[in-house]
């Protein structure tokens, strides 16, 4: 029987795979996206902040028609102790005006819309297809096998199968991941009425709030809790490094329960009705765990390549931009008629020229940094909360005496020399 062939196969219809397919289809390349779900986004979890600028690199003006929930106009960072909360809020009407800065989205709807753009451009989307392995010939990847659904051959295969990519492992491009390289996130979608969200979060219709909470939200483990407002739901979740969860014998859904019951969070969620619960891995090995990103006949993009910046909850834009760069690499390779690893190595160069590799490099020491300083997410929040409580309590103590006491306590708990050292080390690592 003759081989069934296309020019490019993309495995996975998440943001990375679709961005690649869209870019290729627009250039007239015959591309097929194979997705195991019944439709794109059918099984996808996302806390759901989508930044405008990187998305516009793929679909200019997307925000005029895409299914978006709310424009994020306010960011709150919270530091939590078991009972107390301390925070910084930034809000600007500018983020509520076109062309906006970021949006909350529901993945099921966003992914479907985004995939539709690729289909409109001429890509073929085949859902309900689970790719089990790549096909080899003479040491190069030449296609994929989907169990009893058969085989498909192509000049290049793009692996966009998401976090913990089994295919990158099977293709020998990635080793098996380690627990300290993945965060486990539990997330819930809770329904609240539109007006109730607007009342509780103090936003006008169409605008919303993103909250990130550190400290007790993860029981002091490295990670954070989050809460994003959608149109008539809120996404709430919390996650921490898998290795920490294991060593501290903490269950991530217990963390989420506790986060939801925190006095600063509970009133925001009161009466909300559970729509969906899910748990998912986020690759956080970053720079240190990068797989081989290209080989003869294949490229790895998005979460499958570990392209995530956990600090600024940027996964989907790394995914989309890496997908686009992979596609552009293929266009060049196609023009030269050469899909060898050598030709595809342009992908690495393009990643280096973009923000992706440099961001990963910038943050590569964050995890070890915080790990070496467990007090950052445990003792500091406690000490700061105590100081604020003291400061705000009016109890007849003369103010001068009170301030002295606060400073003394802070000196004891926070240890200024250690703090100074940490701040300097932190600044040095991020701003090098």
């Amino acid at each position: 029987m003759s081989q069934e062939r296309v020019e490019v196969i993309v495995v996975g219809a998440g943001p990375a795979g679709v961005a690649a397919a869209l870019t290729l289809a627009r250039a007239g390349v015959e591309v097929v996206v194979l997705e195991r779900g019944a439709y794109p986004g059918a099984k996808n979890v996302m806390g759901g902040i989508l930044y405008r600028q990187p998305t516009e690199e793929l679909v200019p003006g997307f925000w005029r028609e895409a299914p978006l929930e709310r424009a994020i106009v306010e960011q709150r960072y919270l530091l939590l102790t078991d009972e107390d909360a301390l925070g910084v809020t930034y809000r600007t009407p500018a983020f509520g005006q076109p062309p906006y800065n970021a949006f909350s989205v529901l993945r099921a709807e966003w992914d479907r819309w985004f995939a539709q753009q690729a289909e409109n451009a001429g890509a073929l989307l085949a859902t309900g297809v689970t790719v089990e392995d790549v096909l080899w010939e003479d040491g190069r990847i030449v296609g994929v096998r989907a169990g009893e659904q058969g085989e498909l051959y192509a000049d290049v295969v793009i692996l966009a199968d998401g976090a913990n990519s089994l295919l990158a492992q099977k293709a020998g491009l990635a080793r098996e991941w380690r627990p300290e390289e993945q965060a486990l996130v539990a997330k819930e979608l809770l329904r609240l009425s539109e007006t109730e969200i607007e009342r509780r979060f103090g936003v006008p219709p169409g605008q919303g709030v993103a909250i990130e909470a550190f400290g007790a939200s993860t029981g002091g483990l490295l990670g954070y809790g989050f809460l994003y407002t959608n149109r008539d739901t809120v996404s709430v979740g919390t996650g921490a490094l898998l290795s920490d969860l294991i060593t501290h014998e903490v269950n991530v859904s217990d963390l989420l329960d506790r986060f939801k019951r925190h006095p600063a969070i509970a009133p925001l969620l009161e009466g909300a009705e559970l729509v969906e619960y899910s748990a998912h891995l986020i690759p956080e090995g970053g720079w240190r765990a990068l797989p081989t990103l290209f080989t003869d006949g294949a490229l790895v993009v998005g979460d499958a390549a570990g392209f995530v910046n956990p600090l600024s909850r940027e996964g989907s834009n790394f995914a989309m931009i890496s997908g686009k760069l992979a596609a552009e690499t293929i266009l060049e390779a196609r023009a030269a008629g050469d899909f060898s690893a050598f030709a595809l190595s342009r992908y690495w160069q393009k990643l280096e020229e973009s923000f992706i590799l440099s961001d990963l490099e910038t943050i590569r020491n964050v995890t070890p940094f915080v790990h070496q300083r467990p007090y950052l997410l445990r003792e500091y929040p406690e000490a700061l909360a105590r100081a604020f409580q003291h400061y705000l309590t009016v109890d007849g103590t003369p103010k001068a005496q009170k301030y002295r006491a606060i400073v003394r306590e802070l000196m004891r708990d926070v240890r200024p020399t250690r703090l100074l050292r940490d701040v300097l080390a932190g600044v040095f690592q991020l701003a090098r």
Binding site: E4, A38, A42, P67, L124, Q149, G150
Partner: protein, 254 residues
């Protein structure tokens, strides 16, 4: 043998959500092929594998994804019947299908027993009635031998066995063999298969002929009922006593 499968796209039953403000389903729910219809298609493909011929899938109303899936599974061609007044109700849906079926003159018409959205279970029987063909519903097993179907159907208290010769309308239940997954080859081939779009006018149907019999009044949520009082595990005398007290307290005993 020419085999037709009637296939409807319905909102994904796993994603259906009601929006009380709109008085309708939340917009944008992914549409998928009605599950029973895929069982019908699987049966049709098996029949074709046995006797040869052609499998044609038809849908009233647009059904791009579902028809693509049917073609990828192995159907030979697809037809959509579209128009202002369509799908209308079960009667007008059947009307449009019949106008098209009269041209096609199939030997076997497979449909699903009912849909997961409107679920009237009327379309198959209405098609059979309008074409004056025999109908066997609730099909859970079949064999085709010596140009006769031996059919097993599920009835209230058991199973019934019937014999029927084509032309015939058969309504599938999900006890039939599972619909196959499309192969990659099937998916690629589907792109090259014909999909025909017909309007009511193409079929010679006037708006009058497509007047629905059913008035659609929209969706509403059932009013939540208070949890009732359950009297259980008590001696009969005491149960009667409690019931009487309950009815009395509501002023229902006059």
């Amino acid at each position: 043998m020419k085999i037709v499968v009637l296939l409807k796209e319905v909102p994904d039953p796993n994603a259906v959500r009601y929006d009380p403000r709109l008085g309708d389903l939340v917009p944008g729910i992914q549409r998928v092929a009605n599950e029973y219809d895929l069982y019908a298609l699987e049966a049709a493909l098996r029949l074709r594998e046995q006797v040869g011929g052609e499998v044609v899938v038809a849908s009233v109303g647009p059904a791009r994804d579902a028809l693509n899936r049917a073609l990828a599974m192995g159907a030979d061609r697809a037809v959509t019947l579209e128009g202002e007044a369509l799908p209308g109700d079960a009667w007008t849906t059947a009307r449009a299908l019949v106008a098209w079926l009269q041209r096609e003159q199939p030997d076997v018409i497979w449909c699903g027993q009912e849909t997961s959205d409107s679920g009237t279970g009327n379309v198959g029987p209405a098609v059979a009635a309008q074409l004056d063909l025999p109908l066997v519903s609730n099909v859970v097993g079949w064999e085709f031998r010596d140009r006769v179907f031996e059919i097993e159907r599920e009835i209230e208290d058991g199973h019934q066995f019937q014999e029927v010769a084509p032309p015939v309308v058969l309504c599938a239940l999900s006890a039939l063999p599972q619909p196959r997954l499309p192969t990659l080859r099937g998916i690629m081939d589907a792109r090259r298969k014909p999909v025909e779009r017909l309007t009511a006018a193409d079929l010679g149907l006037s708006d009058d002929a497509l007047q629905p019999l059913v008035q659609w009044e929209g969706l509403s949520q059932p009013v939540a009922k208070a949890a009732g009082v359950v009297v259980q595990d008590v001696p009969p005398d005491e149960a009667v006593e409690r019931l009487l007290t309950f009815l009395e307290s509501r002023g229902l005993l006059g």
